[in-house]
């Protein structure tokens, strides 16, 4: 085993990569699920090992094919991306455990193995984006994860899933193309694609137009992929019409990985001093972030479909994360990373719970789920836990996020931001309460008389995810320690 450890960065990506074609060859849904689950669990174990090793021993570098950087492709793991790898792979595994019953209901018969093939390919892409130390390699994995997620969304039961997938395809392609143009310009100016090498070469030419343009293209492209307001229009439909498992997985991970790349490019490659000192990135991120907090929450209040409501809430939450990034302080980056983690937990739990409801009543509309609180008590418990966390009630993970965010804002002397954060949290209270009210206090609809609790295979992972929201609201050691360490590395703009 000991001789495997140096190869962990490669295995992190290539285990799921190998599993994807195996799922396709398996041909049967059950077999494909076992392969996908095995690969995803292995990826989680790898991510845990990498997180442990980087936190204690420092940065790990891996040379693909034995070609030395900057010529070859280098995989680099520090605490920042180990944190993201851990989040992505563990959420993927939890949602996979949850998936079989919901796939049986929502995916056309004979297509289950394709679902798992695409799912594990999407995981490969997201892990690859997070782990690579090569700017072009980011684009390649971005496309792997995006293309597979278009296919996954299109597998949703309603016909609208096809338009949602197409809309996301168009927007996602524009985002990825912008990113690629930016990377191309950087390559033109520096002759290198290796991130560490880019970092040393950019300062000499940082005021040249191509580098400025590259910075703009990369920022906008990544903001589009991260669904930052006003570039979020693809997100509500994509999350609302995707199969339940896909909504849970993507809402918890996909936009977060783009935000990580944004952090990596602004802090490590271009450097905080350049992005926030020479260039006005502070305002460029702050204004859309604040608008997202309000526009997202406000739109969420008026949604009749709860999956859409949660999707709009995601837009608002991405606003909080971007707000924290825009502060460009150690505290801000810590808050951003903590909220990336905690928001992943919230949305995974809530979308999984929506999948449980959909499994029983074939709808996620608020009118259809009136009074279900008595019939599906455990699912409702998960929704309440996730909802409280979303609000930021003490003893939930969401509170920790808000706490660090408010502290970071105060540290930057932006007290008015604290007021805005509190106000937008009030809006979250409105839409979460609307859901709770419908579930517990409305007259049960006669159509749902025979509805019982969701099957255990779905309920257990949902409750575990909901429980994680409580657990990480009380025991914050792991995420906070990792986020603080990662923020320190990012702020230092350390060369790998």
């Amino acid at each position: 085993m000991s001789n495997l450890i140096p190869h962990l960065p490669a295995l992190q990506v290539v285990i799921p990569l190998f599993a994807a074609p195996l799922c396709l060859l398996a041909g049967r849904t059950g077999l494909a699920w076992i392969i996908a689950l095995a690969a995803s669990s292995a990826a989680t174990a790898t991510a845990m090992a990498l997180a442990y090793l980087t936190y204690h021993n420092g940065v790990i570098s891996y040379q693909m094919g034995g070609w030395a950087p900057p010529w070859g492709i280098e995989y680099v793991v520090d605490t920042a991306n180990a944190f993201i790898l851990l989040l992505v792979s563990s959420i993927a595994t939890m949602v996979l455990i949850y998936s079989p019953a919901s796939v049986a209901k929502e995916i056309r018969p004979g297509r289950g193995h394709l679902y798992y093939c695409m799912y594990i390919l999407c995981l490969t892409g997201l892990l690859g984006i997070a782990i690579t130390g090569d700017a072009f390699n980011v684009f390649v994995f971005l496309e792997i994860s995006s293309l597979s997620s278009y296919a996954l969304i299109a597998m949703g039961g309603q016909r609208k899933a096809l338009t949602a997938a197409f809309q996301y395809l168009v927007m996602g392609t524009i985002g990825a193309t912008f990113f690629l143009i930016g990377v191309g310009l950087l390559y033109m100016m520096t002759g290198t694609l290796n991130m560490a090498d880019l970092q040393t070469r950019i300062p000499g030419i940082q005021d040249s137009r191509p580098v400025l343009a590259a910075f703009a293209f990369i920022t906008v492209g990544l903001a589009l992929k991260a669904a930052l307001f006003p570039m979020h229009l693809w997100l509500p439909n994509a999350y609302a019409y995707a199969p339940s498992g896909v909504s849970a997985f993507m809402a918890a991970t996909a936009t977060k990985v783009s935000l990580y790349v944004l952090l990596r490019f602004t802090f490590t490659i271009f450097g905080a001093k350049y992005a926030f000192g020479n260039l006005p990135l502070h305002w460029v991120l702050l204004v859309p972030a604040v608008l997202a907090m309000f526009a997202g929450s406000f739109s969420a209040i008026f949604q009749r479909d709860i999956k859409r409501m949660l999707a709009y809430s995601s837009v608002a939450q991405i606003g909080y994360i971007t707000l924290a990034i825009s502060l460009a302080s150690s505290a801000g980056v810590t808050a951003a990373l903590i909220h990336i983690f905690n928001h992943g937990l919230m949305k995974a739990a809530l979308f999984c719970a929506m999948g449980c409801i959909f499994y029983r009543i074939s709808s996620t509309r608020i009118d259809a789920m009136a009074g279900l609180g008595r019939q599906m008590p455990w699912t409702m418990t998960a929704i309440v836990a996730g909802g409280l966390s979303l609000l930021g009630v003490p003893l939930t993970a969401g509170f920790i996020s808000k706490w660090y965010l408010v502290q970071a804002a105060l540290q930057s002397n932006l007290w008015w931001l604290v007021i805005l954060i509190a106000l937008s949290s009030m809006l979250a209270l409105v839409y979460v309460w609307r859901l709770v009210e419908a579930l517990y206090f409305k007259e049960p609809s006669p159509n749902n008389a025979a509805v019982t609790e969701a099957p255990l295979s779905m309920l257990l992972p949902t409750l575990l995810l909901a429980g994680a929201n409580i657990y990480f609201g009380i025991d914050t050691r792991v995420p906070v320690a990792m986020a603080e360490h990662a923020a320190e590395l990012l702020m230092r703009g350390q060369i790998w």
Binding site: V14, L17, F18, A20, L22, L24, L25, Y62, M64, G66
Partner: protein
């Protein structure tokens, strides 16, 4: 297409050469311009031409969709499997130098196998896309 004798005969004449050219681009890719992507598309174009001229039914007999789908996966497995061979030989992932005693011969062998995997997947994927679009109305 039964009446288009010219098209049918010319296609029949061309298809073997298209395939031969695909193989040339595939296996000469390490010395000249070419490689798996280009070769895969050229190979697929032979099947697509056959499908256009002789009908979808016949094309499906030559390249059964079930087999083609499996080939899409097989190509990726060849690629990743070659990468794993490097690991098993104690080198890094995708380090073909370890595939043979002589690193140069190993690199040569490695890129050949990898590109063959790429070619397989690209050709099979192109044929699958053609089948899906051509058979859309059924």
């Amino acid at each position: 297409m039964r009446h288009h004798r010219v098209l049918r005969i010319i296609s029949k004449l061309l298809i073997p050469f298209i395939m031969l050219f695909a193989l040339y681009v595939q296996f000469h890719g390490d010395f000249g311009p070419g490689g798996g992507f280009q070769a895969g598309v050229i190979m697929a174009s032979a099947f697509i031409l056959y499908g256009l001229i002789f009908g979808l039914e016949n094309a499906r007999k030559v390249a059964p969709p079930a087999v083609v789908t499996k080939l899409v996966a097989a190509g990726v497995l060849i690629y990743a499997g070659t990468g794993y061979m490097g690991l098993f030989k104690g080198a890094n992932f995708l380090d073909y130098g370890a595939l043979s005693k002589d690193p140069v011969a190993g690199q040569h062998l490695g890129i050949m196998i990898i590109e063959f995997g790429v070619g397989t997947t690209v050709a099979a994927a192109m044929i699958t896309i053609f089948f899906l679009f051509a058979g859309r109305d059924r």
